[in-house]
Symmetry: D2
Subunit: 362 residues, 4 copies
């Protein structure tokens, strides 16, 4: 009962990885917002598999269809139904999995919880579940651009041990990010990352990494103490993305090693308004945005599905050796996860935008 | 509108740091659970200031009063109202703050959001807000012990750059944790941490650190895909705690540097049941508990309030120098944050326990 | 932001009356429940227009498609997406409405609220919105039958001033209800009602009426004090149905005229268990089910769209005479509303069933 | 888990009838609203027992204390904690009830649900639970007056078979209502009602009745399709009040007997704006307010506790005769229920006010 997120801008997603289709219903989007299928398609295309040598070769077209809530290019204020039909579903690839839970995947926990698993890989634990998020996030982003001029840009800042330099203050654009297939805006690091992913793929292995996200032009005063702090809602939204195992906002884990005298963001005047001289708070103080860029980093574990041999047991506890799973999975999910992270950030901010509006006119 | 957390086990907290009192209302706790004020007082006493040289000298007694929902030592199934009256409120200590927002504290963002700030330090952004969490968490824990035999233990695993060795598999108890005032169960590290905090205090500064938490005996199958994954709900709950800037579950940020072949938790048979040979998943796969220990780490930034001089500006943008703020704050929040972390973990797990029950009888 | 209902069994509906389609997403349905499209189709067919001379001649097939959440005839525990495509959408029929709000319809309030209205009649205020409710209700009912053996039967108990005798204790079945096209299980009253509707239709007018609903085999102990009482949740669910203007449970408005000594339901022993000798409480005491039949009655206003002349004003306030609106609407919504009422009752009870389960194992 | 109501303006109530106290936490009230304990006390005094010969002689003072969220007479935007301590709790009066469930009261259903009952009468099913509603409603009303100039007035329009004439268009004020102790603004009817209640009381019996409520100056455009329609939220809120068995909005059950041609509210121009010539819709069309007065009527059953003899059974099924229960209850709850109805209306409208604000600035 938890496929819905948000208080006023509510997103409900549905759909298995290899069923009829995946989608989302967005409830609470304001009326008269210009919205087309193409607005949504742009981000779906960035998430889509089969676009480079580094990602899964599944050749899905992922064309979105607006089922409701839009008329003549404008939102009606009613629920926006979105559907992406599944196309390339070779469920045969996964047929052996029926008896053997894949290590570090959700097969075992789903079976424990539901007593049944989707015929093919993953079900709602598959990366395909994120199609609904990305589609809904594109709508959220359209609203945020229109109402607040907010910009959200995420990129790959680390793959394995290869870390790109900090670029959070460089005004990175999505064009910069998409300049290479690994989606790291630092060309030198990008080259090394791509080489690493190819090597890992050749070795039938997978690799983790880090995505950095910056949200700019977020007005000060968003976020709801105490359990609805912006840190908390971003924490929830991001930690719900498959494969994410950690989030840090602003100085994050590095800040844990610092002293207050070096960590505090001192107030200064910039162009007539009170700003902070540094941004170790990552744009959020006391759970409320302070007008600086929202900055956070996300740790992705390496994909659980790998081609090399693994000793494990089946559902009955019998020893098995898993090998050469033919499922068309990614050696590194990071490049395709970039639009997913942006989507979840947009969904969280869209909700805060509406809530802030509720109290603006008092 | 976000002082409530939970779907079935719902906790609402209230109260300012220096007003009449702070408290919580717990809605959805099962009936006929044995519950006394003392059950709650134990954890409040661990959170209380004034207990050692390392924490704030505020001498609050923090005695909890049960207002409703309990009769003859048993819960009635009705809302449990809890109140802790404020005692030692020398609001004079904070009087200068009315015109000057403290750097990296929530004064400025609260003023932006609400157009008014609590007369004295912090209001709902004060650490005192967490009294309600700890009180409610103690009730959640009582329920979890009774229903599921769950144990939750958190400890200080790093202060500044001093990191204790990994003790997540050592069966650490609260007694071990409380063996020293810094609440690190490794005596050697504890000594170093205490020395560092004293040094920092002497230098009118503050220091951050890391808390590790382990929840054991959590049944497999808890957690609700997709936005209510256990990772997501822990992410939200923990990232709502004041001063926390990051969370990592299982392998966390370290996992981002690993390959799938070294990261995967292979299934093995242990005492007749299917378990994992390692626990890099931190007990959660696909957002659902797998029966292994739930393990996570939290990054706390250094407290924003320090005694040394800071150049800043007031609410009107005029330059000021902040110095020698006499508020009785902590140089390091970590020891007192231990029961807060345990409380939030208990609140999250209590909710999952009830939700799991809803689907158990089908 | 209110197209979702339920705490654990959550239903989200979407879709305009004359857009691509209408549907629902059900989140929180237990896994391994047998479910087919036919299970849902049965109730949709009862709601469908074009089935008799008494209802709208719109010839919609309303075939439901399961998009997700079901595999091999069993639910997966994941969201169940349901879609009914729109077919017969002669939007030309409504073209003049763009400038003239129909009296007592939602055109004017939607325009005030959203600043835009659906091209054709009604949008989300159209009776077509209820397709999603009926589809989701059929799933809820399947679950309730399986888990609790609950039976829900609604019928038309009054049309205009023609009131059927009280049949709430007669064990009425859906077969009894469907024995005639007005859906009143008392044949004499049914004849009179049908004659009245025909007369009203011939006079280009419409007529209101009352639906009675009985839910049997509901276990004692369901319902959540205080704002989630069964009376409250039924009140909300039923008062959300288009055209409903009143609900009364048990003795209802008649009970307001009674004395306690005649109204009280005295406890008696029946077949070894404590029951009540009468059921003026309508099966609910203190907001909690007592094991007797849940009984309630609903007042439907006459449909706002009529064929006869009406003096009104357009959106600019200019006087107009509305006449002969060719939209294919119903002179009396009651017969088609029967499955809608049953659906909303099932959705409410399904949620209570799961919540009750959460506390059963304590 | 259902002691909270509202999406943005959230009210959580707590407290048993005869425990330490009863109260409420209001989360989401805007900051900088002028608010004093006296603002709240006014309505509590209207709800209080012991004020006339017609109501319970329990002599409770019901003094409210603001625990948090207010400073210097202004709200802080943080949760407003409210507490009313219980005073006159002669639990001895109820001692025999421990073994015998009172007919048509909630004793039996609470015991079934929770396996335990409050020591004394009613627990959360007692009328005393409504103290928290009234206190919170007073805050909601303060906000509505300030933001929207809304006025909410309820009165007793029927006791037993004595019905006052329709006064919904007479601009009744609370002063008019409080002109007599039965709280019916029609003096002739009031006299008859009072005589009836005295007669009923003398006969150790109780009597039901009807309350009418009018909310004026509610802006057009409030209410959220489809499950959050204003009809639905009022339905839920009102049907959660103890003893209420029915609600009708606008024409209500009478409308069920009407034809569309006589029921429709035609649009007309009044003072330059589009209004309706009649108000059979009760101010709500398609679930959204249309700017006319919100008008609804509520059926209250007669109080279950009466002094005369009743044959019943105890919890073990043994026959008993209940007689002369000394609990100090009301022969007619209507007069004291007036402020409760106003409170629930205010809570519902306050939530809609904030939600409407969220979409106002788009």
């Amino acid at each position: 009962m938890s496929n819905t997120i948000g208080t006023l801008f509510r997103v409900t997603t549905f759909g298995e990885s290899h069923g009829v289709g995946v989608g989302a219903v967005i409830d609470g989007c304001p009326s008269r917002l210009a919205l087309s299928e193409q607005d949504i398609q742009v981000q779906l295309d960035r998430r889509r598999p089969g676009t480079s040598a580094l990602v899964s070769p599944r050749a899905e077209k992922d064309k979105v269809k607006i089922l409701s809530g839009v008329q003549g290019g404008l939102t009606l204020g009613t629920p926006i139904g979105l559907l992406v039909e599944n196309a390339d579903t070779r469920s045969g690839d996964y047929v052996d999995l029926a008896q053997v839970p894949r290590p570090s995947h959700a097969d075992m926990t789903y079976m424990t919880k539901y007593g049944i698993t989707a015929r093919s890989g993953g079900g709602r634990a598959s990366a395909r579940e994120t199609v609904g998020r990305v589609a809904a996030g594109a709508v959220a982003e359209k609203m945020l651009t229109h109402r607040n001029g907010i910009k959200i840009v995420a990129w790959v800042s680390a793959v394995g041990s290869i870390e790109a330099p900090d670029m959070t203050e460089d005004g990175i654009s999505r064009k910069d990010v998409d300049a290479n297939i690994i989606r790291c805006p630092d060309p030198k690091s990008a080259k090394k990352m791509q080489d690493l992913v190819k090597k890992v793929l050749a070795e039938k292995d997978s690799i983790g990494g880090i995505i950095t996200c910056v949200c700019s032009n977020v007005p000060a005063g968003w976020g709801e103490p105490v359990f609805g702090k912006m840190t908390a809602e971003l924490g929830r939204a991001m930690m719900s993305i498959p494969a994410i195992r950690g989030i840090e906002i602003g100085s994050g884990f590095n800040g844990a090693r610092m002293r207050g005298s070096e960590h505090n963001d001192l107030f200064v005047m910039k162009k007539g308004s009170i700003r902070t001289s540094t941004n170790r708070s990552g744009g959020i103080q006391g759970g409320i945005s302070n007008g600086e860029d929202i900055v956070f980093r996300l740790a992705f574990k390496p994909p659980a599905t790998i081609g090399s041999r693994q000793k494990s047991v089946d559902y009955k506890g019998r020893k098995v050796v898993l090998e050469d799973i033919k499922g068309r999975h990614d050696p590194c999910v990071l490049p395709r996860a970039v639009p997913i992270v942006e989507a979840m950030a947009a969904i969280v901010l869209a909700d805060f935008s509406l809530i802030a509006g509720a109290y603006a006119g008092k």
